[in-house]
Symmetry: C3
Subunit: 138 residues, 3 copies
Amino acid sequence: MIFQKEISITPLSRGFHIITDVITEVILSSGIMTGTAQVFILHTSASLTINENTDPTVLLDFESYFNQSVSENQDYYLHNYEGADDMPAHIKASLLGASVHFPISFGRPRLGTWQGIYLGEHRNDGGSRKIIITINGE
Amino acid sequence: MIFQKEISITPLSRGFHIITDVITEVILSSGIMTGTAQVFILHTSASLTINENTDPTVLLDFESYFNQSVSENQDYYLHNYEGADDMPAHIKASLLGASVHFPISFGRPRLGTWQGIYLGEHRNDGGSRKIIITINGE
Amino acid sequence: MIFQKEISITPLSRGFHIITDVITEVILSSGIMTGTAQVFILHTSASLTINENTDPTVLLDFESYFNQSVSENQDYYLHNYEGADDMPAHIKASLLGASVHFPISFGRPRLGTWQGIYLGEHRNDGGSRKIIITINGE
């Protein structure tokens, strides 16, 4: 059995945001009890990853780390006409990835106790973001 | 329904290359209308990722970024007998990943407008590369 | 057909470890001949990735690279009360990812000749780790 749904995330500020609840809601609505979920973001300057779901300073440290690791205004950037945040956003999107995947068990996302789903918004003004959730299961 | 096909990519120069068309062709041939695609590269010194599909300077900036971020000839490298490009190639392969995954909708890859599939060739002379595409769907 | 199994990995030292054999054993037990495997770790300070399976120095170079690339004791870390290794562990977990995915062909993991499955233990004392393997196939 396949279930697929597109959702839209309202504009978020640059940085990392936990979106576990909205994804869980879609999964619960699918009626699939056991399987795999694929959560895919349709953009190249935002990302999805799974990390710590409790202490909000982890989200802030992620933003600091990736800003330091993928600097703006590098001399070697050729793709710079969409703003200083644009090329770093593309690189961050690939370092973190456009999708997350996790098991479904007993009709729910089977995440670890401390795991949540992060949306990384890497543009200063990224606008709303589209996500497609596809579940394979039974 | 499961569809699986192995393809071979002719040797590419070191750097990033868009391979969306060849992957799309395989997906169209599967006849699967809704589901998930897994595209997996059978190598540890090349990678797959999803990023911007229009401006070729993004591909060049990716190569520059990863060359700077994963330097050759680090003093601490122990695995260096296959050439200066080898250990960095392994690290880049894991930073970016051996697979990409995206939804299938209406019989086609459901990618965002600006998304393409990149093959990252991280060796100077990587030779041809094998990829397996597996689709779960209906 | 869906197959799902949870396994526990006994405590490993900080660094990278090849766990291909234990994953392969689960896949063989599933009886699924063709499909996709999802291997998911239920933690935010350990990771899964696919890389070179033969020379143990690659594992050591991975540990060196990620320690250098994601430094401990950065001034900007706010999340630091769980130890100097904690925030770097979270970042490494997202750079490498919480899951790996590969094809199943002829009832076996369809990995490249040189590919193995790595567990990255990013804490000094991470304890045992839980992994869920889910296979979609036929």
